[in-house]
């Protein structure tokens, strides 16, 4: 599947946040959208996911279902607080078996963090659980809004490596600050 963002513009009242933005994301060719805070990175991702409408332009998905599913990491972790990480992933990400999910989580999380309620995890652990949730989901497109926020340098490196290896078969669009752009991503700037 490919994602074509074509001439997308979006205003909030008199504030113009996106101006005629175009790019393409496809499997093996991930895109990192960069720009300062308030430049419209999150808005762009929400438009791609269909949570907001652009004022002009369009997002076209080809080579897959007309209404694609997304594996998404939002700016907030958006975890189900009453449950542990395995159950969180099972609820959101479909029919994978608990053992498979557990094994996937252990790639980024320590053993003891996997079975605890997510409400008791650290910010960085919650973030990593959210990343694994997106990856393990059967989503056709991967969308990640500042996935490395709150991670230390070592965990950022691990998470980037995990993303690179796990996202090859699907289009991946990241919104990140300049310092967090993975070297293997195509860069698109919003100003």
């Amino acid at each position: 599947m490919t994602v074509d963002v074509r001439d997308v513009s979006k205003d909030y009242g008199t504030l113009r946040v996106l101006r005629g933005l175009s790019f393409r994301a496809e499997p093996g060719r991930p895109v990192a959208v960069t720009g300062p805070s308030g430049s419209g990175k999150t808005t762009l991702l929400r438009i791609v996911m269909g949570l907001e409408s652009p004022d002009a332009g369009s997002v076209v998905f080809s080579g897959g279902p007309p209404k694609p599913r997304f594996g998404a990491v939002f700016q907030e972790d958006r975890l189900f607080e009453d449950f542990d990480a395995v159950t969180n992933l099972r609820l959101a990400a479909g029919s994978a078996r608990r053992e498979e999910i557990r094994a996937e989580l252990l790639k980024l999380l320590p053993e003891d963090a996997v079975s605890k309620p997510v409400s008791s995890l650290s910010g960085g652990q919650r973030r990593r659980a959210a990343i694994v949730r997106a990856i393990i989901s059967p989503g056709d497109v991967l969308i990640m809004d500042e996935p490395f926020a709150g991670l230390d340098a070592e965990n950022t490196r691990l998470a980037m490596e995990y993303l690179r290896e796990s996202s090859l078969s699907r289009p991946l669009i990241l919104a990140v600050h300049e310092k967090d752009v993975p070297p293997w991503c195509e860069r698109v700037s919003v100003e």
């Binding site: 949570l51 997304f70 998404a72 939002f74 958006r78 189900f80 609820l91 959101a92 989503g139 969308i143």
Partner: protein
């Protein structure tokens, strides 16, 4: 040790109120107006071996519990419909307001005209419980975290997963409070309806007959049984709803 202290404190409070009740009865010294806890206990013990008493307890228990369950289920179901359809919410609004405002006595008389007295307490309990569960469930559903619903939408989460992960955790405190309140109301209104409609072999009918013969001790004994049953069901309900949460945690 702390648990024992709490139990002792509760026992002391209970003894204080029972003593006050007994003192009041002794001061009034008129068995038609009021009897003490001791006479009430004797009246209860006298009723216990009779089949009529147990038939009355069983009938009222079944009808009121059935009415509670039907009203509760309907209330929750209608609240889900109203949550997903603003039009249905508007359609239900006057109906629920009417159910809240119409006096129980009016319902009792209408049900007596339409259906007779046999299932009276079941109908009345349903009508009393339904709006309580509807309003509280709808309030909980409308307060559901929009961000989690967005997540569910983009992940195409199926409804059972949304129910378990988003709606039930959000609803549980609303449901526990509403169900316990509704349980108390169900017993109050159910037995009141039985007093007015006098279905045979019911707690309400027992109360009515005791009133005719001015048997205050029996009135208080039947009242005590009603309060105990209401308390017992409220506790069981609380355990069941909280047990649901523990089962969820056990699945992790």
């Amino acid at each position: 040790m702390r648990r024992r202290g709490r139990l002792l404190k509760k026992a002391a409070i209970a003894v204080f109120w029972l003593a006050l009740w007994q003192l009041l009865a002794a001061l009034v010294n008129n068995k038609v107006l009021i009897v003490g806890p001791y006479e009430t206990l004797l009246a209860l013990i006298a009723m216990l071996p009779t089949a009529a008493f147990w038939r009355a307890v069983l009938n009222s228990l079944l009808r009121i519990t059935a009415g509670f369950c039907i009203g509760g289920l309907l209330g929750v179901l209608l609240a889900f419909c109203a949550c997903f359809s603003p039009l249905l919410r508007e359609v239900f609004s006057p109906f629920v307001s009417a159910m809240k405002a119409v006096p129980v006595a009016s319902f009792v008389i209408l049900v007596l005209i339409w259906a007779g007295s046999a299932m009276l307490s079941l109908f009345v309990t349903t009508v009393v419980v339904l709006p309580i569960l509807y309003i509280n469930t709808l309030e909980g559903l409308l307060a559901t975290d929009r961000k989690l619903l967005e997540l569910a939408a983009v992940y195409h989460m199926p409804f059972p997963a949304r129910l378990r992960g988003i709606y039930l955790p959000q609803l549980r405190p609303h449901l526990v409070g509403a169900a316990q309140l509704a349980c108390g109301m169900a017993w109050k209104s159910g037995v009141a309806a039985e007093v007015i409609g006098q279905p045979l072999a019911s707690l309400g009918n027992e109360l009515y007959r005791a009133k005719i013969y001015l048997e205050t001790d029996r009135i208080l004994a039947v009242t005590a049984v009603t309060v105990f049953l209401s308390w017992l069901l409220e506790r069981l309900l609380g355990l069941a709803l909280r047990g649901g949460k523990r089962r969820e945690e056990g699945k992790k």
